[in-house]
């Protein structure tokens, strides 16, 4: 079998082989695995087993593993354990939201993209709620998720934020920072940082859309809807549909996100505007998803996921991300496919051109397609 397929082996992209390992029959999987372990393009056997933990029988990682802790309004991490995997609801609303939201995020990555947790190897998902007093933020600290309760220390009439676990897409956002840390390692500054942020917004939105079973045209495409109290003039932290329109409030100011490259903001704060210029790739993803219709996590999400996992690097910029999603769309769905055109349309909407006459040539014609068809997986 190996000999028979040798002529196409050399042009089979590693991520396609990985799809076959995940989705193919046992014979197909064996073939793809042999190819992967002998190809120099791949990152080595150790990484292979990290990506497909079920194959590494002696150290097979467990599936979904979550622990939620409470910092009890202090700063020590991880804090006091409130709920472990499989345990009944704790009765602490924030802790139970963190448990459910990290579960929904695990499920998106596992069920749809065949990824076992943020490191691809079943890493336990740790969350801490009730971090500090009046802490109006949520973050990923490199090892775990951390959530504040908003500005609960203020008088009710002055409160602007609810607890940060209230929005399931924020939970997906934080966990995706973990995925990025293990994969593309996008440096958290300027355009690579804004891509890092955008990936978190994209997969956070997909976690929410999948939880609600929303198609692209049913989804609100907001980031952090529900975080604001009624005192704020605004609907969410960001809008992927219309960046720059999520809020306009006397205390918080106006949503600063651009939706187009002509409005890109070169700023010194926020690590060079990583939460600001992310509006540009966010909107490209939104437009591509709407073009494709249906459930955004299935096609647009897959293209973005494979790009994050296999293509982007620490210093990738917007143009490179556009080129690579365009390339991945061709590898997954075919050169000139509707999917690839949707990606092109998405980036065009934000002023980034891909697939023009000066672009590098697409991958060998139908390479991925041929393999998938060969295995009856199209």
């Amino acid at each position: 079998m190996t000999t028979e397929h040798h002529s196409i082996l050399c042009i089979t992209p590693p991520h396609m082989l990985r799809e076959i390992v995940t989705r193919g029959s046992s014979a197909q999987r064996d073939w793809a695995l042999r190819t992967l372990t002998t190809t120099e393009q791949f990152r080595g056997v150790r990484q292979l087993y990290a990506d497909f933990p079920a194959l590494a029988a002696p150290t097979a990682a467990a599936g979904k593993q979550r622990i939620v802790y409470s910092a009890d309004q202090g700063s020590s991490l991880p804090g006091r354990k409130v709920r472990g995997e499989g345990e009944p609801p704790s009765g602490d609303v924030g802790a139970d939201e963190a448990y459910d939201g990290s579960g929904a995020t695990y499920d998106l990555y596992s069920d749809v993209y065949q990824r076992n947790s943020i490191d691809g190897n079943g890493l336990r998902l740790d969350s801490t709620v009730h971090y500090q007093k009046g802490y109006d933020n949520a973050f990923w600290n490199g090892q775990q998720m951390v959530y504040g309760d908003g500005d609960e220390d203020q008088p009710p009439a002055d409160r602007l934020f609810n607890r940060f676990t209230i929005a399931i897409d924020i939970i997906g956002h934080e966990l995706t920072h973990g995925v990025t840390q293990y994969e593309a390692k996008l440096i958290y500054r300027n355009q690579s940082g804004a891509l890092n942020e955008s990936m978190s917004d994209v997969f956070g939105a997909l976690v929410k859309q999948r939880a609600l079973n929303h198609t692209a045209d049913q989804a609100d495409w907001l980031v952090g809807q529900g975080l604001f109290t009624a005192n704020v003039k605004g609907v969410a932290l960001r809008s992927m549909k219309a960046p720059g329109t999520a809020y306009d409030d006397p205390v918080l100011g106006k949503d600063p996100q651009p939706a187009h490259m002509k409005d890109y903001k070169n700023v010194s704060y926020d690590n060079g505007g990583v939460h600001i210029n992310s509006g540009i790739p966010n909107h490209a993803f939104y437009v591509a998803s709407l073009e494709l219709g249906g459930k955004a996590w299935e096609k647009a999400g897959r293209i973005w996921y494979v790009t994050l996992r296999d293509k982007l690097g620490p210093l990738s910029n917007f143009q490179e991300a556009a080129n690579l999603t365009y390339q991945v769309a061709a590898e997954l769905y075919g050169n000139g496919s509707l999917e690839q055109k949707a990606v092109q349309t998405g980036w065009a909407a934000v002023g980034i051109t891909v697939g023009g006459g000066t672009e590098p040539p697409p991958p060998p014609k139908g390479c991925g397609q041929t393999i998938m068809e060969l295995f009856g997986m199209k």
């Binding site: 973050f139 490199g142 932290l237 960001r238 990583v274």
Partner: protein, 104 residues
């Protein structure tokens, strides 16, 4: 030195919300008690001995970023720090200015 007016410029950016919050405080326009509290916080932080940029962890995301400039008695110093890199002694000043930025 005690009675010299002090001017503080404060900026907090980043966080998952990505909102920029700023305020400028002049101690000579504040109630005496509040002005005194800020002076003490600047002293306790040894603000003028802090490096201009405090190194921050390469890992993690969505932390707050701070930029703080203090002017007093002909001296002026700016410190940029990530939330995780801010020394304990600086934290009360950051918290207090954060509260004042909300009130403005």
């Amino acid at each position: 030195m005690k009675n010299e007016p002090m001017k503080i410029q404060f900026e907090r950016s980043g966080g998952v919300a990505g909102m920029r919050m700023t305020t400028t405080v002049n101690t000579d326009t504040l109630p005496a008690q509040e002005a005194q509290m800020l002076r003490e916080m600047v002293d306790k932080a040894k603000f003028f001995d802090l490096p201009a940029v405090l190194a921050t962890s390469k890992q993690g995301a969505d932390r707050f970023q701070y930029r703080l400039t203090v002017e007093v008695g002909g001296r002026r110093h700016t410190v940029e720090t990530g939330e995780a890199a801010a020394p304990q002694t600086l934290q009360p000043l950051l918290d207090q200015l954060g509260q004042m930025a909300r009130r403005k």
